[in-house]
């Protein structure tokens, strides 16, 4: 990118705000870029950029980030944002009171800081939950400081201003909840129905969507509009398949048949390799991962629908378009079974037909039949 002078009037962010951020070590270019990126991610008109810039000022939103049955992938995705300024800005406007992956405190000290923060910011803090909550056997499968995830999550959710679930596990149970779900894992919305909550599923959550949700909360004082399963529409309102860069190849009937064929090298559609883009809703094709670097389909692998509830069960096998027919072997597809059914029907009726042809005395109105000369 060329380094032209950035004119704040272009987006209407005041000089004063820009200077303040400059003093904190965030260049005006980076700050304007952050605000406009957020405006675009939230699908707002550019005129909202100054509003966002103003909202980011001197706010210290207390945030508690807890992890239950998780792999910390969402924490990683957020912290490894390779553009340091975005993380800088967001860490500057929130006050991360508790987050296992980054905090220095440990043991009882850490526990104490969590509950202290809850008491201190009762009804004002934002709760971020990562990982599913196991409800089986009274919740023994996941305990922190002797307290089950069920108990601590309920308390934290009840006292929060709002809850954001990051990743599919916290949203819908995710991998731990995949059949046979040995720990009876659930997502937050099933643990505390009716809580003020926004789900940011994905494996992992896209850091930009989390940042945008935080910015939305700071700017408008409420969570963004969500779809039927609690996902913000700005991030999950469009189908992957409808925004995919390989879509022209789909419509043209050009498909990669294997991961090493000529079609794959030419960027053809991954539909026949089991891509779940036609049933997955996420903004991966437009914002991509790691600051717009890439996303699975761009990298040559089909979508696995990781932001859908129960994706591990419903979206697998990942390299086939349709789920397995329950009760049939691994190699049986719906169509093989269907063909078998049709073949069996045809055979049965052929036999029936031969038998019927040899049948005597069953034809009707025989008294009226006159044989021609």
């Amino acid at each position: 990118m060329k380094n032209e002078p950035v004119r704040s009037e272009a987006v209407g962010i005041s000089e004063e705000i820009l200077r303040k951020w400059e003093a904190k070590g965030v260049s005006r270019r980076d700050f304007i870029k952050f605000c406009t990126t957020m405006t675009a991610t939230l699908a707002l008109p550019l005129t909202f950029a100054p509003k966002i810039a103003a909202a980011l000022e001197d706010k210290r939103l207390p945030v508690i980030w807890v992890e239950y049955q998780s792999c910390s992938g969402d924490s990683e995705a957020f912290l490894r944002a390779n553009q340091p300024t975005a993380a800088e800005i967001i860490l500057d406007i929130i006050s991360l009171e508790y987050a296992e992956v980054v905090m220095a405190a440990a043991g009882h000290q850490a526990e104490k800081s969590k509950w202290d923060a809850m008491e201190k910011y009762k009804g004002k803090y934002l709760l971020i939950v990562e990982g599913s909550i196991p409800t089986g056997e009274g919740g023994v499968y996941c305990t922190v400081g002797g307290e089950s995830a069920v108990e601590s999550a309920k308390k934290l959710i009840k006292n929060a201003a709002a809850t954001i679930t990051v990743g599919t596990c916290a949203s819908y149970g995710g991998l731990p909840a995949a059949a046979p779900n040995p720990t009876t894992a659930v997502g937050v919305r099933d643990l505390v129905p009716g809580a003020t909550i926004v789900n940011l599923p994905g494996c992992p959550v896209n850091a930009d969507n989390l940042t945008a949700t935080l910015v939305h909360f700071l700017t408008f004082g409420k969570l963004p509009a969500v779809d039927a399963i609690g996902r913000p529409k700005f991030a999950y309102g469009k189908r992957i398949h409808d925004n995919c860069e390989r879509r022209a190849h789909f419509d043209a009937g050009q498909y990669a048949e294997s991961f090493d064929d000529a079609g794959h090298r030419q960027g053809h559609c991954l539909y026949k390799l089991g891509c779940k883009g036609p049933e997955a809703f996420h903004n991966c094709p437009t914002i991509r991962y790691n600051e717009g670097l890439s996303w699975p389909v761009m990298a040559g692998h089909g979508c696995i629908g990781c932001a859908s509830p129960g994706f591990w069960d419903t979206m697998s096998p990942f390299y086939r378009r349709l789920p397995q027919v329950p009760g049939f072997g691994v190699e049986a597809t719906a169509d093989k079974i269907g063909l078998g059914l049709v073949g069996a029907t045809a055979a049965a009726f052929a036999v029936h037909g031969v038998a019927s042809a040899f049948r005597k005395g069953d034809a009707m109105e025989s008294d009226k039949v006159k044989v021609e000369e």
Binding site: A252, R321, A334, V342, H352, A355, S356, E365, V369
Partner: protein, 217 residues
């Protein structure tokens, strides 16, 4: 005296053939959507685009035809009526149903004498109507996904709260194969009955007329 009876009215015959044609088109295009075996050359074209377009046009045709047929279940003659598809409602219907079933399974010699549908066929048609309706409703739920904020999505949202869209796709495939099985059964039985009943069963779906001896009824 053998009579010529007007049994299948125009809406029955027209919707029968429109349904048949639409289902054939939907099955061929649907199979291609599920398994795109013909690969367009490197020059592209719009192969899948057109196939899906034809699928959706045929889907609307089938839907319109089914709506007409359902209307005619209430407006048409008693052979077209919804009552004709539930033969178990009457003792006579129940008797003829088991008579017909015995004939088909070679355990009885007599064919039940009917002006309209034979009772076993009528039950099969009721099942097929249900399958087609599930196929239409499920198909539109899948179709609506291109615009989750649209009206079609709002009308079909309840389906996706009952079942995941992937399982819905599997059902969409399964019903196609069930309809294909029905097609074989249907054509075979119609031909068999045409031969055995000698009352013009096959031609009746073109002309509407069947030959009936009232004394034998």
């Amino acid at each position: 005296m053998l009579e010529i009876r007007y049994v299948w009215e125009i809406p029955v015959r027209v919707t029968h053939w429109v349904n048949a044609l639409a289902i054939v088109v939907l099955s061929i295009t649907g199979t291609f959507i599920g398994f795109p075996y013909l690969i367009a050359g490197v020059d592209g074209g719009f192969a899948m685009g057109w196939i899906r377009f034809i699928h959706f046009v045929a889907a609307y045709v089938l839907t319109a035809s089914m709506l007409v047929r359902i209307y005619w279940m209430f407006a048409g003659n008693h052979h077209a009526s919804w009552r004709a598809f539930i033969p178990w409602r009457t003792t006579e219907g129940r008797r003829n149903f088991s008579k017909m079933l015995r004939y088909y399974t070679f355990t009885g010699k007599q064919i039940s004498y009917e002006v309209g549908h034979n009772p076993v066929a009528a039950v099969a048609y009721a099942g097929v109507f249900v399958l087609i309706i599930i196929q239409i409703v499920g198909g539109f739920a899948l179709y609506a996904q291109y615009n989750p904020d649209g009206m079609m999505a709002a009308w079909t949202a309840w389906i996706l709260t009952l079942i995941d869209s992937q399982w819905l796709r599997l059902i969409h495939h399964a019903i196609m194969w069930l309809l294909a099985g029905f097609f074989i059964n249907h054509v075979y039985s119609a031909a068999l009955m045409d031969i055995k009943e000698r009352n013009g069963t096959l031609s009746s779906i073109f002309s509407g007329y069947r030959f009936i001896e009232p004394k034998d009824l």
